[in-house]
Symmetry: C2
């Protein structure tokens, strides 16, 4: 038997969840879940987070349609992080990119720059009309 | 210019770092960094974390030899998580598995189980002699 009670949550009742494309293994985003969000995600079909800023459950894609259908769920050796493989509709990032990790840090000892390494897949102004 | 000051750290001065195999895109582990650990990691050659349990810098592999050579570093749209692609020596997990995410949660509505889905790559008792 597995229960979401087995996992370790921080002092805010949260743990981190890494979201990965189930086909390409691209890491799409990182966000937090409380125990109830873990349970909702395990039941599926879509990934549910706990939004720290809005203090509410957040079914990813509920507004934009860019849902994450749960394919596989793993937890780590310390029981304080989840890895969730998903079928991502369109793109994960609210800025329009497939992955939230679209900025790469470059450089060598002492001096670094960063650059956008992906193309936008949608216009955020169209997807989020509020 | 990029500076580790641009990133957002939590109330403990930490942010999460996802470690990914630079060749296969397998997610290997998740751990925390403070600003100094981010700077040390950017300078390379190896990934350095901040150990919350030991309250010290932790060059992954310093004891076991299972180092993580930094290949690429990305930060996310919120600036509160890093994705680091590495050349992982042997295995990332202190339990002997390539990835710390070696337990899969399975099941359907209401009832779940979990199982180990990987083979050990080393004997933890040999690698960590203390």
């Amino acid at each position: 038997m597995f229960s979401a009670d087995q996992l370790k949550y921080d002092e805010h009742g949260l743990l981190g969840a890494i979201i990965q494309d189930y086909k390409t293994n691209e890491v799409l985003m990182f966000a937090f879940m409380n125990k109830e969000a873990v349970e909702r995600t395990l039941k599926g079909p879509y990934v549910t987070f706990w939004s720290r800023s809005r203090q509410k459950y957040w079914v990813k894609g509920e507004e934009s349609g860019h849902t994450q259908e749960v394919k596989e769920v793993f937890y780590d050796c310390d029981g304080d992080a989840l890895l969730i493989k998903v079928d991502q509709k369109v793109a994960a990032c609210h800025e329009g990119y497939r992955s939230c990790f679209f900025r790469k840090i470059e450089g060598s000892t002492g001096s670094f720059g960063d650059k956008v390494i992906a193309e936008r897949m949608f216009d955020p102004k169209q997807a989020y009309k509020k």
